[in-house]
């Protein structure tokens, strides 16, 4: 990445129409308002600017149709009061306040070729922004003379800044639809702020004490073009649909440096920034009164650091123009950086907590009711290589979004590279004092992401849904980990890096909304969209998801060895389509509730391989088709709790009396409870439940096996019912608990193990404080030994169903035809519990 010093870019200003009204006050009037020591200025203004543009090497980004006015009526004036005082020491004190709710808006944001050139009405645009507010605050500019000040020795000013915004509304508008924060309040305090120029010519903004709290009463959506910046629909008078509330609380220390010159051409800018997150809390509330009613999902007690090196900003042409003209979406605002490092600890992640409980936790550390534990997120984004492809980090912001959805929208031509040569990038889950690291995480993204606010309907044969539409266009991606490391949490995730590496296994509970997550490694190419609409199933607020996502040319690991070979069990040549309709998300007292109106998917695995993802031996092709209606899932905090393994008993005494092992897995953990209804096939719509295993294909054993040419074993049209073949209220119900917990590990043969530790057959592995271990005879174990059993990942799953009905099992061959093996297969009255703890293999 180029790192040149360049000169500061020049802002080009084209101001077509400016209307401002200023009301002069004489000294007598001012003194009556603010006392005898200063100056009071009442300002009433309505300002319109046709275009304000920034040009970089001849290409510009233009803010068109800027307006500052009253929010209630754009033809009325925005009103402010400013009060100035010069203090005894020569410092300047300024206070400011709104006298009415103001609106600042930008009608269009476009990329332009030159100043003053008119844009076509339907020329691609990023869309518009609007900001309604009342502001009240103060600024104190200290008199520090004209010398160098601050830790970075800048020539500039030292300021104390504090303000609060009320009656706020911040929105994004595209193609007549709006997504906005409504009822926004923002409190900001930044004492000791330094703004100036360093001796080397960099602009420095230093925020040593930045405090902010954001409260958003409702995240609203409008699909009525007549609405603009209103809480209630202008036609119906009804409150606009809401996604819920948002709360953000932060305490940061930040240092920002900007120098002239970007990565492309002679102009642009380069930014370096270091931020220490002293504390941050973030939460999403559903049907809340911000006290004891309604429930929240949130990451609380966050701390850490974010450093960014050489972030360049340029206005430049699409690089694809030279290599792939079909993907040329014109000039964009390009962001690129050498490295970005994030180290963040989330003390508690809550699911289904009240705001009153969160406030009490933040204020005084009162224990939470629904914490699933904490996380450490460590990420290093920098230039790297993934699957032999060189990658860097850059995002080009372009206009238009999804081109079929209208001329307004956002397109992000994205390439991101997450590297981890020394395990800098990883993800750690902390449960009751035990930590589980997804070690040495590497990832990349390369392709286009679009963002539009869309309304329900068909455009040119493409169906759109109400909400914020996140689109994927040939988005190649991949991630992988080397495996997992588990140990006691010390508060420093670096301590985990030297712990024994354990093979990575797919965790079904982490598979996410589309079923693509939870694997130790996944890659492929994404196309499609996920549209997030307002309103859930419970109460007035929540999220509705409609999605059509296709993954192609993929590889998904079910299991990856811990030896770095990449060998494991792979779904290779993966093509996966998933469709979600009216999936409703709500936060309830139980946790995150997910209701699927209708969903269907097809997972086509060209080769189910053992060994390397491309070279391993294949078991053949697998195809899983799924069709569900009205399935429900609840993700809640807390794991399995106390369980009896190998016996039956609800207490330690009863369990041990039945020769079981009593295992208390603590208060934290994760539980995923699901109720799924598999429905009868709808042939015309391609919806069905079917599993197919195909072998002996033409070209079998090579990378050119022809799907559909071999012998297929087909389990067709499996459905659920209540045991009567008529109703289906029960479905398949599963409860999965994930914990990090201790478990016994038994030596299977006398001798030394792979780590050189001797043990007799039947001995138990006991951990020592330094991380080493020994084998001890089970008869000699003390309570302390049992408390130091190895830490593993505990999965508990209970699956129940009244009846699972498979219509038929067929054998099919394109030449030999089809024959029926079974004319019916029924499983009734099942209640299966599996409780498995996985630890490293010695």
């Amino acid at each position: 990445m180029r790192k040149q010093f360049k000169y500061l870019a020049v802002f080009a200003l084209s101001s077509n129409v400016v209307f401002a009204e200023m009301q002069a006050l004489d000294d007598e009037v001012m003194s009556s308002v603010s006392g005898q020591s200063g100056l009071t200025l009442d300002l009433e203004m309505k300002t319109e600017i046709g275009e304000l543009a920034y040009f970089d090497d001849g290409k510009g980004i233009a803010l068109q149709g800027l307006r500052l006015s009253s929010a209630a009526d754009p033809n009325e004036l925005a009103e402010y009061r400013f009060e100035f005082d010069i203090l005894m020491d020569g410092s300047l004190a300024l206070s400011f306040s709104s006298k009415n709710q103001s609106r600042f808006e930008i009608e269009e944001i476009r990329f332009v070729d030159g100043p003053g050139l008119a844009s076509a009405a339907n020329a691609p645009s990023l869309g518009g922004l609007f900001f309604d507010y009342k502001i009240d605050g103060s600024l104190l500019s200290y008199n520090r003379g004209n010398g160098y000040i601050g830790p970075n020795s800048v020539l500039g000013g030292l300021y104390d800044v504090a303000f609060n915004i009320t009656e706020g509304r911040l929105g994004y508008r595209s193609n007549g639809n709006e997504f906005f924060m409504d009822g926004m309040e923002l409190d900001v305090s930044s004492m000791g702020t330094v703004l100036g120029v360093t001796p080397t010519g960099e602009l420095n903004l230093s925020l040593p004490n930045f405090l902010a709290e954001l409260r958003v009463d409702a995240l609203r959506f409008s699909n009525n073009p007549n609405n603009h910046g209103v809480s209630n629909d202008v036609n119906t008078g009804q409150a606009l649909a809401s996604y819920g509330s948002l709360w953000l609380n932060m305490d940061l220390s930040a240092d920002l440096f900007i120098r002239a010159g970007g990565a492309d051409g002679l102009q642009g800018m380069t930014i370096n920034a270091n931020t220490v997150i002293n504390r941050m809390d973030m939460a999403w509330g559903d049907d809340t009164d911000w006290a004891a009613t309604g429930y929240w999902l949130g990451a609380l007690g966050m701390s850490g650091a974010l450093d960014i090196t050489n972030l360049t900003v340029d206005v430049m042409s699409e690089p694809d123009a030279l290599t792939d003209p079909l993907k040329d979406y014109g000039v964009g605002l390009a962001f690129a950086f050498d490295s970005l490092s994030l180290n963040l600890r989330v003390q508690d992640f809550v699911l289904g907590e009240t705001k009153a409980s969160i406030d009490s936790y933040v204020a005084s550390g009162t224990p939470l009711v629904n914490s699933m534990g904490g996380f450490d997120i460590n990420l290093l984004l920098a230039d790297g290589v993934y699957n032999l492809a060189p990658l860097e980090n850059r995002v080009i912001l372009q206009a238009g979004g999804n081109m079929n959805a209208g001329y307004q929208g956002i397109r992000l031509d994205t390439q991101l590279s997450l590297i981890s040569p020394n395990n800098e990038s990883n993800f750690v889950y902390i449960d009751d004092g035990y930590a589980m690291m997804f070690s040495r995480l590497e990832a990349y993204v390369d392709g286009d992401i679009t963002l539009d606010v869309t309304s329900a309907g068909d455009i040119n044969g493409v169906t759109y849904y109400d909400g914020l539409r996140l689109g994927f266009e040939d988005l190649a991606f991949g991630y992988r980990t080397e495996g997992m490391r588990v140990a006691e949490d010390t508060g420093d995730s670096n301590d985990l890096k030297n712990k024994q590496l354990q093979a990575g296994q797919r965790v079904d509970a982490f598979s996410g909304l589309t079923g693509l997550g939870g694997s130790p490694s996944l890659e492929g190419v994404l196309n499609g969209h996920i549209t997030l609409g307002p309103e859930g199933r419970v109460g007035d607020e929540g999220i509705t998801i409609n999605a059509d996502v296709a993954l192609s040319d993929g590889f998904m690991a079910q299991f990856v060895q811990a030896d770095g070979s990449g060998n494991g069990v792979w779904l290779s040549g993966l093509n996966y389509d998933v469709h979600l309709r009216d999936m409703k998300l709500d936060v309830t007292s139980e946790g995150l509730s997910i209701y699927e109106g209708e969903s269907w998917s097809k997972m086509d695995v060209t080769d189910f391989r053992v060994g390397g993802k491309e070279t391993g031996a294949s078991f053949g092709r697998l195809v899983m088709e799924s069709y569900e209606v009205a399935s429900e899932t609840i993700i809640s905090a807390g794991g399995a709790g106390a369980v009896c393994i190998g016996g039956v008993g609800a207490s330690l005494i009863d369990c041990e009396a039945d020769n079981g092992r009593w295992d208390d897995r603590g208060e934290q953990g994760l539980t995923v409870a699901a109720k799924r209804h598999f429905k009868d096939k709808i042939e015309l719509e391609g919806k069905r439940n079917r599993f197919t295993w195909e072998v002996a294909r033409t070209g079998e054993g090579t990378n050119a096996a022809v799907n559909g040419s071999g012998l297929q074993l087909i389990f067709d049209n499996f459905t659920t019912n209540d045991g009567d073949g008529l109703t289906d209220d029960f479905g398949i119900q599963t409860v999965q608990n994930i914990d990090v917990a201790r478990a016994p590990v038994i030596k299977k043969a006398t001798g030394i193990d792979s780590n050189g530790v001797f043990g007799n057959k039947g001995d138990e592995k006991i951990m020592r404080p330094d991380g080493s271990y020994e084998y001890k005879a089970r008869s000699s174990l003390t309570a302390a030994d049992i408390a130091n059993r190895p830490i593993g990942i505990a999965y508990r799953n209970q699956t129940q169903f009244k009846e699972l009905d498979i219509e038929r099992v067929n054998l099919s061959h394109p030449v030999g035809g089809e024959s029926t093996l079974l004319y019916g297969l029924k499983l009734q009255n099942f209640n299966i519990t599996t409780d498995i703890t996985a630890t490293p293999m010695d």
Binding site: Q502, F559, S618, Q828, P840
Partner: protein
């Protein structure tokens, strides 16, 4: 949410329908062959240990001697024919020391290993398996559900297993599509 539970279950079943072989190998030899890069599993699998979700004229609570509380699997091999039944399946199996890893086979097996020279799934059998009142009944039935009108069932035998088993060696699953 996840839609893969059944898929993985079926995958597991069919992995074993591929070709499998048993081979005994000690820890030291194992480590010299492939390293210990797999996973060690312990736990239990319980089926209808405390009954199932169905309550009707046939299924019910385990403390009701007139009802069946176990799981039931039935299948029909001829159109309009009778049904094979595996009935009243219940009990639990607990184990310690089941291991799983991928292993390369490039020698042995009477020379076939060198010809194969590929990776296989290796399931290290647990030394200790404990069966807790595990049982099932083999039967045949006249129609698909025991609650059907005029349904008749003949129970041929019931198998019950309790106690500790010792299993040694490894189960190798060879992919041979």
């Amino acid at each position: 949410m996840s839609k893969r539970i059944v898929f993985i279950l079926v995958l597991s079943i069919f992995a074993f329908k591929a070709q499998a072989d048993m081979q005994s190998i000690d820890d030291e030899a194992l480590s010299s062959v492939t390293g210990q890069a797999g996973v060690y599993l312990s736990g239990e699998i319980a089926i209808n240990e405390e009954g199932g979700p169905l309550e009707n004229s046939y299924f019910g609570a385990c403390d009701d001697p007139s009802k069946v509380c176990g799981a039931r699997l039935s299948f029909q091999t001829q159109q309009d024919g009778g049904w094979f039944v595996l009935d009243n399946i219940k009990g639990s199996i607990s184990f310690e020391g089941l291991t799983f890893q991928v292993r390369n086979i490039s020698s042995g097996f009477g020379g076939d290993g060198a010809l194969f020279n590929r990776d296989v799934m290796e399931i290290g059998l647990p030394e200790s398996i404990r069966m807790n009142d595990f049982q099932y009944t083999l039967a045949t039935g006249s129609s698909e559900r025991p609650t059907d009108a005029s349904y008749q069932q003949v129970d041929f035998m019931t198998v019950e297993m309790s106690g500790d088993l010792t299993l040694q060696g490894n189960l190798l699953v060879f992919p041979t599509p």
